[in-house]
Symmetry: C2
Subunit: 210 residues, 2 copies
């Protein structure tokens, strides 16, 4: 049977179904046929909207990065929170797992998703670095921070945060996390050149992540 829908609608349907599958089963483990079955379309229709399976992945990643960027911008606007904390919260808000259920959280960052991960990281860095530039430079101006290479510092912090908490490159056990988080906060403060210990209060928020 043939059900016709407006282009953009169908496109979104494919994107939604594919995202759920990629996250649940992994990109490589998800076949185009799996997506077709869920959206209930034929192969030709899929390839009418996307040139390849990978193009779908890229579109999804851009969506995820964009959502994270919006959360970050929202957080950074809130001048009632101390600058350091605001910056840390914006970084924490990138973790895509925050939007998903616990099950998704567990499945998302396996080795099988190396490609998704890698593309995500690149796009996230590209999008987030400029967003964090402003508040960090503000901190430098106010002499809260002290650093010679602000851009590179932001990149490193974003990278570290992502690798430590969104991937499982270090195969940490549950009980390791509190210590790892403390160490991360400590390193971030050092890189920013701010006085140490201010971020301890943020532990609770990170705690939910483990």
């Amino acid at each position: 049977m043939k059900t016709v829908k407006e282009g953009e609608v169908r496109r979104r349907e494919i994107l939604v179904a594919a995202r759920e599958l990629f996250v649940k089963k992994g990109y490589e483990q998800t076949s185009v046929n799996d997506i077709l079955k869920i959206v209930d379309i034929a192969k030709g229709t899929f390839y009418y909207y996307f040139a390849s399976k990978e193009e779908v992945l890229e579109a999804i990643i851009l969506d995820i990065v964009e959502e994270g960027a919006r959360r970050a911008e929202m957080i950074l606007k809130d001048k009632s929170i101390p600058l350091v904390s605001r910056i840390m919260m914006a970084i924490m808000a990138q973790a895509p797992e925050f939007e998903g259920s616990d099950e998704i959280k567990e499945e998302l960052h396996k080795v099988e998703n190396a490609k998704l991960e890698r593309l995500y990281l690149r796009e996230m860095l590209k999008r987030m670095t400029p967003i964090l530039q402003e508040p960090v430079l503000e901190g430098v101006d106010q002499a809260i921070f002290q650093m010679e290479y602000p851009t590179e510092c932001i990149e490193s912090i974003l990278l570290l945060g992502h690798m430590m908490f969104d991937c499982d490159v270090f195969e940490w056990k549950m009980e390791d996390y509190p210590r790892k988080i403390q160490a991360f906060l400590c390193n971030v403060e050092r890189m920013l050149g701010t006085k140490e210990g201010q971020l301890k209060e943020l532990m609770g928020m990170f705690g939910q992540l483990s």
Copy 2:
């Protein structure tokens, strides 16, 4: 034609050919048939030695990590070099590109190799963290370094070094590198809690990498 060889010899042949192909064309882009053509064996022979294409990848990665670990241990033994420099050099010596030609260098860390990259990173961290533990703790003892979380600090530095110079997640241009390297050295010194500026002399060595 059937040419019989001793098991271990054939195994190495496959490993060598596969490694070159994975590095040159990327893991996913290399088919088992490509490997067969080079080693000049039939499919059955390949699967007599390895259970899957991925098992070959894992064996190769363990080799690469082991080679890096040996280089690191060699460097760390040389007490004539200042401790900080020795540690940095051991980390730099991990970059697998150092063993290959310039061509290989360019091809190695593309998105297509996300899986290789990811597995490498995990194994490298597992192998290198204990190796660096000793000299870093020595530095802490001698009050050259000052840090609360030595293990985590090493992990972070290894991670940063790898991501910044072995991958191309940041799409840096050639001319960006000197600055990025300076920034990296600066961040490393801060994380180690050592006095800044000691590592500037190492720039030349990093220079070759760009």
